[in-house]
């Protein structure tokens, strides 16, 4: 029997580096070891990919869709069913950082392509990732780089590259923005095929030398006839760059930080943690995998349990994985995608290039009611395979007094830590039914139902809102 603390730590790792794991998976991973699991997560290429043929059969429209729901559903399917949890979690991380929205791009398949690019490059070199981002057709269109010409620059991409993607405010001048924009002239998309009436088509990156300003540029203290890749080379060597990236990783994987616009005035919650991540970046030549290895193996990470408010995607996907009703292609993924929307995170359509506000800002009256009802309805459904397996695990412990019943429930879907107030109510609920018994058929039916209601109540709690 694995040590309880090891299980709890593994559950924490899987909630953060993935979308949570049920008990059987946790036990298998604990048997393998924590550091070995971190390594496995860091090398998704060694795990089987999603079967694209099956995926395509069930989401046949996602390659030409006019609106985002089917593409959102395709992504939710991947999040739930992936054998490469960190790859998918990093795709979500980059989507939240390099927020590109269908509101303007109006081409869901192209956004799906961008997410695929995040899967491919999301754990590699930050420098290479920024180059890929600069060539991403969805990004080029989103930030108007197709309107950035040698004889008339458009600063949108040049500005956001520094402000929101690589450095953060206060680390560059307005002139740097202009010079960077000049260097990215000619980085555009190949002529688009008109989308109507046949649906959307993929775009392509195109470099047009005749529209590139090849003159000398002065950028962040460097001078030369820079092109776009030179700008990115200079950016990733700026001291601000790893600090900015580290703080994003910390906010996403470790603990809620203030919102990004406050970063130039509010210091990080844990400066030593940021420094460790910065060092990993510098020592590894901008290797994101190396940063994450340090992060997941650090004490600051291991001690930060339940220190983040779950994003809607985390709550929706994590709960669906636990209930276990979505581990095969089937109808219903659209509703899960819509559920993310209604809880305030419309995948592939962040509100702006500044992305979603995270942490407590995910919560408002409407969102909380949806979160509570969504989770309580799934977790209380004793016909779902994941819940059946939770019940079987509790049943294996035989007849249980109320306090043990509560502990068994919290353990089986977590282990979860809950506050005194929550625990008191769970216990009171359990006490109302007395001892949990399995002696007769009638006992069984009643006990299963009681477990379902307790799981509903747990997932309706404040505590369940945290990852």
């Amino acid at each position: 029997m694995p040590h309880q603390e090891d299980i709890a730590l593994m559950a924490h790792l899987m909630r953060r580096a993935g979308f949570g794991a049920h008990r059987e998976e946790l036990e298998a991973r604990v048997a393998k070891g924590y550091e070995a699991t971190v390594e496995e997560l860091l090398h998704p290429e060694e795990q089987p990919a999603i079967d694209e043929d099956i995926l395509y059969r069930f989401f046949p429209g996602y390659e030409g869709a006019l609106g985002p729901p089917i593409n959102q559903a395709e992504w939710v399917y991947r999040m739930i069913n992936t054998s490469r949890p960190l790859e998918e979690k990093m795709a979500l991380f980059w989507h939240q950082l390099f927020a590109t929205g269908n509101s303007k791009v109006d081409n869901p398949p192209e956004l799906t392509q961008q997410i695929a690019m995040f899967r491919e490059h999301g754990l590699g070199s930050f420098r290479d990732l920024l180059v890929e981002l600069a060539k991403s057709p969805a990004m080029i269109y989103w930030l108007d780089n197709n309107g950035n010409h040698a004889d008339a620059i458009n600063e949108n991409w040049g500005r956001e590259l520094m402000e929101l993607f690589a450095l953060g405010v206060g680390n560059y001048s307005e002139d740097d923005i202009k010079e960077a924009s000049r260097a990215f002239t000619g980085w555009t998309i190949a002529p688009k095929i008109p989308r109507n009436p046949l649906g959307r088509f993929y775009w392509n990156f195109e470099y047009k030398p005749e529209d590139h300003d090849d003159g000398e540029k002065h950028f962040l203290g460097h001078t030369g006839n820079f092109n776009g890749e030179d700008i990115i080379d200079i950016l990733v060597d700026q001291p601000a760059s790893p600090k900015f990236l580290s703080r994003h990783l910390y906010n996403f994987f470790v603990a809620d930080e203030p919102q990004v616009p406050a970063w130039d005035i509010t210091p990080p919650g844990d400066p030593a943690a940021i420094e460790m991540l910065v060092n990993a970046y510098v020592e590894s030549n901008y290797d994101i995998r190396s940063m994450l290895r340090v992060l997941f193996n650090s004490d600051f990470f291991k001690n930060a349990r339940f220190a983040r408010v779950k994003s809607p995607a985390e709550l929706v996907v994590g709960t669906a994985r636990m209930a276990g009703n979505y581990n095969a292609p089937r109808p219903g993924f659209n509703m899960l995608a819509m559920e993310c929307n209604w809880q305030g995170q419309e995948l592939l359509n962040p509100p702006s290039v500044e992305s979603w506000h995270t942490g407590p800002e995910w919560i408002d009256g409407g969102a909380l009611v949806r979160r509570v009802n969504y989770a309580a309805n799934l977790m209380g459904n004793i016909d779902l395979p994941g819940i059946k397996s939770v019940i079987a695990r509790i049943k294996a412990q035989g007849n249980l007094p109320p306090a043990d019943l509560v502990a068994a429930c919290l353990d089986a879907i977590g282990p979860l830590d809950v506050s005194e107030a929550t625990h008191g109510e769970l216990l009171a609920q359990a006490q109302d039914g007395g001892e949990l018994r399995w002696d007769t058929e009638e006992d069984q039916t009643k006990s299963e139902q009681r477990i379902g209601i307790l799981l509903s109540l747990i997932s309706a709690s404040r505590d369940y809102q945290f990852a």
């Binding site: 929205g101 509101s103 303007k104 109507n196 009436p197 809620d256 408010v309 819509m338 929307n341 209604w342 809880q343 305030g344 359509n349 509100p351 702006s352 500044e354 506000h357 942490g359 407590p360 800002e361 919560i363 408002d364 009256g365 409407g366 969102a367 909380l368 009611v369 949806r370 509570v372 009802n373 309580a376 309805n377 209380g380 459904n381 004793i382 506050s419 005194e420 107030a421 929550t422 008191g424 109510e425 009171a428 609920q429 109302d432 139902q449 379902g452 209601i453 509903s456 109540l457 309706a460 709690s461 404040r462 809102q465």
Partner: protein, 378 residues
């Protein structure tokens, strides 16, 4: 009409997706209209003429009747400078009154805060729809967001919980789980407050359907359902002063004529039934309804539909509304267009200010972020 002592009530109907101004209030005698709309225009024999220049689209008969009755104001050329063609960004600006930065505080929520500074009545503002529009978002200001009035509330459909007392007990447990607790931190406190407010809102609102009866039969479509829900909560007299709901999608890039027809049939019918309902209950004199959309659509059609534009049209309806035309229809002359779109000539914040100031009796300046020209339609 006698002055009312009751609190003013506002219903906001958002036409999501950018309603086509040109085919809603049609400048039918303007030669540029037909020139620009070879495929997507309203035939002259079908439109509902208002005067020798303008006409409503067909399927707006019920609204035309309200207009003819002098209870509907049409606000022309509404929008803002440098209108973005993005739905989301434009809607965001309408929601937050922040055209320069990405705002997080909604104008309706700010109005709610001014109406009820202590947040005592959590149904002061009620949204009907999925999720909470940003217009209603403001930390510390509770608003209630209802997706289905019949089945609204926390833990409203937990599997296996059928008995009323069993559900009541779960709700009591929920309330205690979300009760204030010392030393749990600001996020826990905030979650607790939000949870308790949601519970309170659900509790208050569930009385509304029981109290309601009416002879009006609303149509079977989402906006009719929403406005019936508005009527039920409004008539239950729960102190709600702002209702918010949306209908769409008005994003008619493709195959516009049947889509636009369907949408306006639904909207016009629902509004007409709604006001008839209020009239039946003699409760129409302290409520007005405003309709807005994020922007109008491109002047030139694209063959089957219309693309994103700029200047749009808004409406205000109600017994206390001074009906008629307000503002100026933007020029359709090629040289007056802004990137092929109608140039807005009336800032939407002035429109909001008129409602906030003259109807709700609040100071509009802090809510919309400045002083903007008001119109006297109420």
């Amino acid at each position: 009409m006698t002055a009312t002592k009751k609190d003013p009530v506002l219903v906001i109907l958002q036409l999501t997706g950018a309603n086509d101004y040109l085919n809603t209030v049609i400048p039918y005698t303007d030669p540029h209209y037909r020139d620009n709309r070879p495929k997507v225009h309203i035939p002259e024999d079908q439109m509902l003429r208002i005067d020798d220049k303008l006409a409503f689209r067909p399927n707006m008969e019920p609204l035309k009747a309200i207009y003819d009755d002098g209870k509907m104001a049409v606000i022309h050329g509404i929008g803002f400078e440098n209108s973005p063609r993005s739905h989301f960004r434009a809607m965001d600006i309408w929601h937050t009154c922040e055209p320069e930065i990405v705002g997080t505080e909604g104008w309706v929520a700010k109005m709610t805060r001014d109406l009820d500074p202590t947040g005592e009545n959590v149904v002061k503002t009620v949204n009907f729809g999925q999720g909470l529009p940003r217009a209603l978002a403001l930390r510390g200001t509770p608003v209630t967001s209802v997706s289905n009035l019949e089945n609204y509330g926390v833990l409203s459909s937990v599997p296996g919980v059928t008995a009323e007392e069993e559900r009541d007990q779960l709700l009591e447990r929920f309330a205690r789980m979300y009760a204030p607790a010392v030393g749990t931190g600001p996020t826990m406190d905030y979650l607790g407050q939000t949870g308790r407010d949601a519970l309170k809102g659900a509790d208050i609102i569930k009385s509304a359907p029981e109290k309601y009866s009416s002879t009006i039969e609303y149509a079977d479509n989402p906006i009719a359902k929403s406005l019936r829900d508005v009527a039920r909560v409004y008539l239950a007299d729960l102190g709600t002063q702002v209702f918010y709901t949306a209908h769409g999608p008005f994003d008619t890039h493709f195959n516009q004529p049947p889509m636009h027809t369907k949408l306006w049939t639904e909207v016009s019918g629902a509004i007409s039934d709604f006001f008839a309902d209020l009239k039946e209950h003699d409760a129409g004199d302290n409520l007005i309804m405003m309709l807005f959309t994020e922007f109008g659509r491109r002047v030139k059609d694209n063959g089957t539909g219309t693309d994103h534009g700029a200047g749009g049209v808004a409406f205000v309806i109600g017994d206390k509304v001074k009906g008629g035309m307000y503002g100026t229809y933007p020029s359709l002359k090629p040289e007056d267009l802004s990137q092929g779109d109608l140039a807005p000539n009336y800032d939407f914040r002035g429109f909001y200010s008129s409602v906030i100031d003259q109807w709700m009796g609040l100071d509009p300046v802090p809510i919309v972020g400045g002083k903007f020209e008001e119109m006297a339609f109420v």
